[in-house]
Amino acid sequence: MKREIVLPATLLESGEDFKPSLTTYKIGNNVYSGILGLYERGSSNEVNVIPLRGKYYPNVGDRVIGIVTKLQVFSWNVDINSFHEAVLPFSNAIKKGRTFYSDLSKLISINDVIYAEIVSYDRFSPPTLSLRKKGLGKITEGYLYEISPGKIPRVIGKNRSMINMLKQMLGIRIIVGKNGRIVALTQDYEKIAILGEIIEKIETESHVPGLTDRVKNLLESKLIKTS
């Protein structure tokens, strides 16, 4: 299926059945785009445009990569690349039943990178994070990439195909946050550079079909060169 690039006020669909989403709007029976992005025709009744630029819109249940910006008395403020700063309460950062008497900064301090889940967000309170699930926590080493949040589904791929391939072929652990941040857990410079190129390719060519195959070819040729 072909994805086309649309600008604000581009007519996407017309008909009673179509519903607007966060990135589109409806006047009468016509659905228009509200942002610059990619649109794929005929996937569902909810007309959605994948944004090329812009900030992350928080959703409950999303796993994000945040950077701690401030220490409060009983919580941390976390930058999640959104228009609101997220809050990580102290109770959500430690395991149930544990106690922690020392200074909060000994647990997580400013500029630390964390992998967390958004547990609540509405218009009355800021996004609240939690580390109380398997796989979540502080990221102590690695390299951080930042891309447009709308491109993250392309990095993950259908049924996680793209991200699994990257992990398998490069042999490194990769954490992907829904807010447009990706962490490669490695100190191998060559692999970091290769992953950077791959992510850039995904970002610039995500609207052209057959992406996974092309990425695979590129990855193979790169890996042969380095080995």
């Binding site: 690039i5 600008l7 604000p8 006020a9 966060l22 990135t23 709007y25 006047i27 228009y32 509200g34 942002i35 610059l36 944004p51 090329l52 630029r53 812009g54 900030k55 819109y57 228009f83 609101h84 700063e85 990178v113 218009r123 009355f124 990221i139 102590t140 080493e141 690695g142 390299y143 951080l144 990439y145 930042e146 891309i147 447009s148 962490v183 490669a184 970091i192 992953l195 950077g196 992510i199 850039e200 970002e203 610039t204």
Partner: protein, 239 residues
């Protein structure tokens, strides 16, 4: 009618050559440069970002703040760098023009800050600013119902003209900046200075709308032409 000629040799309904670029500032979330003849404007958009002090933020929607500023060397005689009464007023009308076309409900309790710097002023600075801001907002990925395009129209003697230069503006009997969302056919800014008959007004409005459509196409072309920029990512950072 045929005797009349404009100083730069343009036809009455002809706009000045346009040059525009998107994503010119790296620190801003969105930015654009816009040039109409000798009027040169740069616009930067920050946000949506958190509004401080927090208790003053609007619970239902985002705020839009606009600062229009002419830098001291933008005009022939040095202009004081403080915001003048005129600049504050233009900031207000630009803010009101964009308040209607941004979907503010999407970003409650936040603010969208727009900064406009006029680098060189030669008439029609407010419409050039609006054109630049509209590109910068697209660059920032903010939900807009449509791009906003603007042009100024006016009257010199008995001639109706489009896109006034500074000189024409000073000699004009009436001038009228128009900004609209062309696809939706909605006017978001319409000001008038001077005297016009109803007939002249209607004629000028149709001339303005025609010119706006040309600018709109140009803006879309600029966005399409700079997709490569918009798709680029930032390099990796060590944790």
């Amino acid at each position: 009618m045929s005797e009349f000629k404009r100083a730069d040799g343009r036809a009455n309904d002809e706009i000045r050559p346009i040059k525009a670029e998107i994503h010119v500032l790296k620190n801003a979330d969105g930015s654009a440069y816009f040039e109409m003849g000798n009027t040169k404007v740069i616009a930067a958009v920050y946000g949506p970002r958190e509004y401080h002090p927090k208790q003053l933020a609007l619970p239902q929607e985002s705020m839009v703040r606009v600062r229009y500023h002419m830098i001291p060397f933008s005009v022939k005689e040095r202009k004081s760098p403080t915001l003048s009464r005129r600049e504050i007023e233009i900031s207000k009308v630009i803010k009101e023009a964009f308040s209607g076309c941004i979907k503010k409900e999407l970003f409650p309790k936040s603010t969208i800050d727009v900064y406009i710097e006029v680098l060189n002023a030669d008439g029609s600075t407010r419409v050039a600013s609006i054109n630049a801001v509209s590109l910068a907002l697209v660059d920032a990925g903010i939900f807009m119902f449509d791009l906003v395009s603007a042009v100024s129209v006016g009257k010199i003697g008995n001639q109706l003209i489009v896109d006034l230069t500074g000189e024409e503006d000073q000699n004009s009997e009436a001038d009228m900046p128009i900004a609209m969302m062309p696809s939706l056919n909605k006017i978001v800014l319409l000001q008038m200075d001077g005297f016009l008959t109803m007939d002249e007004f209607n004629k000028l409005l149709t001339m303005g709308v025609e010119a706006i459509k040309k600018i709109y196409e140009k803006q879309k072309e600029v966005i399409r032409g700079s997709l490569e920029y918009l798709l680029k990512m930032y390099g990796p950072k060590k944790i």
